[in-house]
Symmetry: D2
Subunit: 340 residues, 4 copies
């Protein structure tokens, strides 16, 4: 950590600051120049609260050198984390394709879709039972019933199920879910993250609408610092000035995150673009750039989907996309996992 001091900081003030800093068990080095003075902090600065340093009167700016996350940090865990989900490995040398409807609407729709995506080669099933919708007047999801339907679809197809939690109070309902998803709007719901940190379940953590990669890693750190190290990161597009696509898919995040963390990385091209015709090219590019998993919305009848129809693929479209994905995944050396 580097602390730049204001012009005119007195020796006494600087000594006081250096003395105050000893509480964090870091070593301070003062660099004095003509126009500016700098204190370099060395040691483990994870616990140094950057805001309290910033608040000191003689401090101009503070810059962290070390990343503020430990458990998620590749520096301290050089090996890739590989998470086992009913035999499928997330984070390893196989590509996982998580497909299914935005919302669980009916048993028939869900099971039909599950069977279709499995036939096409998907390795896990997604489906929303609790739906975070901008409008209180829009369909809010089937809740517990939706989770029960997903379990039936799993029984039918063998596909592990991934579904989103919206509140700590619903946690019991997710006991038999395979991967618990945290949506973009809950990416900094710290109470929820801590509670998930006390579970022994894989958590698929989505990046916030305007979340930085460092914030995503800090949210992962919330979960991990409570003991659950099974965190899967998911880039699903960020919010910008552009309106041609729903969000902007940040694919460079994949190789950058791989440098910074050992956690598996998923790409959700459906939410990132909001446009069905862009899902396939983005999924191919995500595979080419090294994603460990893809999350793709598929609906047996997108025109009648209760949510997100415009970005959902039909089973036929998905099958065609899987064909190309399988080929690309093979080509880049991380073949799509095999079901059965």
């Amino acid at each position: 950590m580097v602390i730049v001091l204001k012009d005119g900081a007195s020796k006494k003030q600087i000594d006081e600051l250096i003395n105050w800093l000893t509480r964090f068990e870091v070593k301070s080095n003062l660099v004095e120049g003509v126009h500016s003075k700098i204190i370099g902090l060395v040691g483990d600065t994870t616990s140094v609260d950057i805001e309290s340093v910033q608040a000191k009167e003689i401090v101009e700016t503070v810059k962290r050198v070390q990343e503020p996350y430990k458990n998620a940090n590749r520096r301290f865990h050089p090996e890739d984390t590989v998470i086992d989900v009913r035999g499928r490995k997330l984070g390893g040398d196989r590509l996982q394709v998580i497909a299914g409807p935005c919302s669980v609407e009916t048993e028939e729709q869900t099971i039909k879709t599950a069977i279709a995506v499995k036939q096409a080669g998907a390795t896990m099933l997604r489906g929303g039972a609790f739906k975070p919708r901008t409008s209180p007047y829009a369909f809010q999801g089937l809740g517990k019933e939706g989770i029960d339907i997903l379990k039936k679809a799993r029984a039918e197809t063998g596909l592990p199920i991934v579904t989103e939690i919206m509140d700590v109070s619903d946690l019991d309902l997710f006991e038999d879910v395979d991967i618990i998803q945290v949506g973009a709007r809950n990416s900094q719901n710290f109470t929820l993250l801590k509670a998930l940190g006390r579970c022994d379940k894989p958590v698929l953590l989505k990046r916030g609408l305007s979340g930085t990669l460092q914030e995503l890693l800090m949210s992962a750190e919330y979960i991990m610092s409570e003991g659950n190290s099974k965190v899967i990161l998911c880039e699903r597009g960020i919010r910008t000035f552009e309106t041609a696509t729903r969000n902007i898919l940040d694919l460079a995040a994949v190789p950058l995150l791989k440098q910074k963390t050992h956690l598996p990385i998923t790409i959700d091209p459906s939410h990132a673009t909001g446009i069905a015709s862009l899902v396939e090219p983005c999924a191919l590019a995500a595979t080419a750039i090294g994603a460990h998993a893809l999350e793709i919305e598929v609906h047996i009848d997108p025109e009648h989907a209760w949510s997100d129809g415009a970005q959902s693929l039909t089973p036929e479209q998905f099958a065609a996309t899987m064909e190309k994905l399988r080929s690309m995944a093979e080509f880049v050396g991380r073949p799509v996992d095999i079901t059965e």
Copy 2:
């Protein structure tokens, strides 16, 4: 609502779409041109799910004409909402100044600050007991103990207390709080919003980090649609590419929101800028542009604040700011409310 159809939509497809639209009890009008066809929907379109329309194969784009919120909409409630908080009126012809520390740290710090801000003329006390912090290693707030300290500060000063809730499960602890605050990171925590909608307590709802004004109003609608109409909106800066200030304070939101809604509007210049020296000028501008309330961080000793010290005013700075605010508020015809 205006539905633009794709080139080549057949008469049969259009008829099917118009037929399907009847379920929403709106009237469809087809406009046919050489290059494009448009369907204009008239009637109450609040309940029309824009996404399911968008998902239809022959639909190019959909645009809402009517706002999708009703309870928060000035069109249907022309009169300003005025919320009574222990005798102080929020939304009326008095300016409320909500001041206090970012975090409740100790009883002494909180009560000293409360006394100081009251003496300076603040009309309500703010203080965080549950703190949403980016890092799991940073101070997370005193929780229940913090709320108890706030109540003591209220007993001491008579100032109503405003404090942030982070999760539905803590709701019981807020029973005796005067205004429940929802932070930017929970602005679209819909489960929490619905629960607050079933309370009979004023809710100060902050705009999300990258929340649009329409999303803010839809979040208000979540609360209101459950029965609680005591919602106070708060602009606290939005996230952009600029790094010179923590966020960008969107003051034009005040007059724009006043056109769109009848709810009171608060400005938080402390979080918006993150820089103590900008709080006073922004608070003055917020008063000039018509805010009903200001939320300002004050700490008896910002250098030793446990959070957000860099943006906190000292009691002396706050007293000087209040002096100018009183004068500006008087000048624009919404004088600072009187305590006692």
Copy 3:
């Protein structure tokens, strides 16, 4: 400037780097810690090219401590710059109100508007002769003829004229203009900025659509480093995710820029919001927060304006706004300048 070194940088590499840095005539101080090593550079680092330092293999990150601008820097020029424009002072203790149409359309329209804004109390006349339009099919401005019309309007009213330049090759046409404006889209047209730096004319420099305040100051530096110190900065709204207003007006930029620079600061509420009904409240807030000048679009007949009609005030609206502005400006101690 602070240089953070990568783990594992060898003593030899560090020595080489320190040796290489001597070319910039700055002093290097090495701070060695357990986890990280830092070099603090002291002296005048304005000329150190941050990119070439960043490119060194052993460099992790570089952070500037000193601002990279000199001429525009308040640190080296503590006194406010006051620019005289035909007797009106920009940057001093008077508020300048620059009003007029977005585009110069006809002599009649321009002169009528000029007379109207003068009567209402405007102190300068704005009007576009060269118009940067997104579409090549939209009205592109009258060019030279437009400037001639502005001069007639000046002869008629005595108001100094402000108009936008789009290309260096047109510079001759601006010889008799009082203030040359550089639009947001040319804010980093460095060739143009350098050419304006060799003029002896005030330049009103607009912030780029996504320009940081530091970039704005660096663009000012381009002009000033060539010898022209008459630069007026203008905040006109930045581009974000929000679509409710055309841009987001960053009013906190006013007090922040005042800390960093001695140059006068203008606010353009018309382009910032794009909505006529928001111009007055934003202009009042801009005055309250300390702007030295306002730039406001007025059209004798906004409904028939050839550009930007939706954000233009009618002469009647402008007169009403001036009434309030005069009062607010008086109140904050920077009264509107007097014409005649």
Copy 4:
């Protein structure tokens, strides 16, 4: 184009508006509902100035249905545009790789780099002679001398040369250049675009820092409407809140632009990320998603580059990247073009 009218628009006002609209040679259809009235405009609305419609008092909002560009529009030109550059085809079934240094620094550096990138398989040479730098104190490029050096490098290697223009007044110097590049900061320098429209040279047009795809296409339209149809679009990262990479690379723009336009599309992973280690994965993903060309910065000695060293590849790194690119390009069916 769809015009939504305000509540309470009178029949007389609506008739006047419809009458006024006849000037654009479009047909108006009025849709009347209980809560709102809509006018649908049909016909060629390219020439309808959306702003003047928006300015009408009774108009609530206006929405374009048709795209406002014609020449760049795939609807009117279904076939891909293929641009011949000294025998290499841009926009066709071969991938072009444009490589070279950010800045032309010396003849030796440029020619050595040119030879190296050619050996590695690059198909064109890039190099900046005019450099748009944020700071006036940074290296501004060699200007004319730089272009002469590029020509020598072309003579030496046979690689066509791509270099950036910053101002209309320099146009003569670019007569013998193969592709003229327009940088992000000049993406809406309309005077420059029009002048390039009167050349008979390919123009590589970069997206603005916060330019929408529609604005990029409108800038292309500026060039094309003057007669030059040889426009190559380039996505080079957009500016957002994220600071981990210099910009955010918007790869979904490739398939989306391909739907909207027939022009070739280039990706610049070097400027998009600003980090050398991300260039290869992003280039691979860009190839996978369908880019027609890549622009990659290579420097014989990045540590001593005069600009952008941190994002430049060494010749060795570039050769390794080309190896993988060749394989990926072959795989996706658009093999790297052959030089010689």
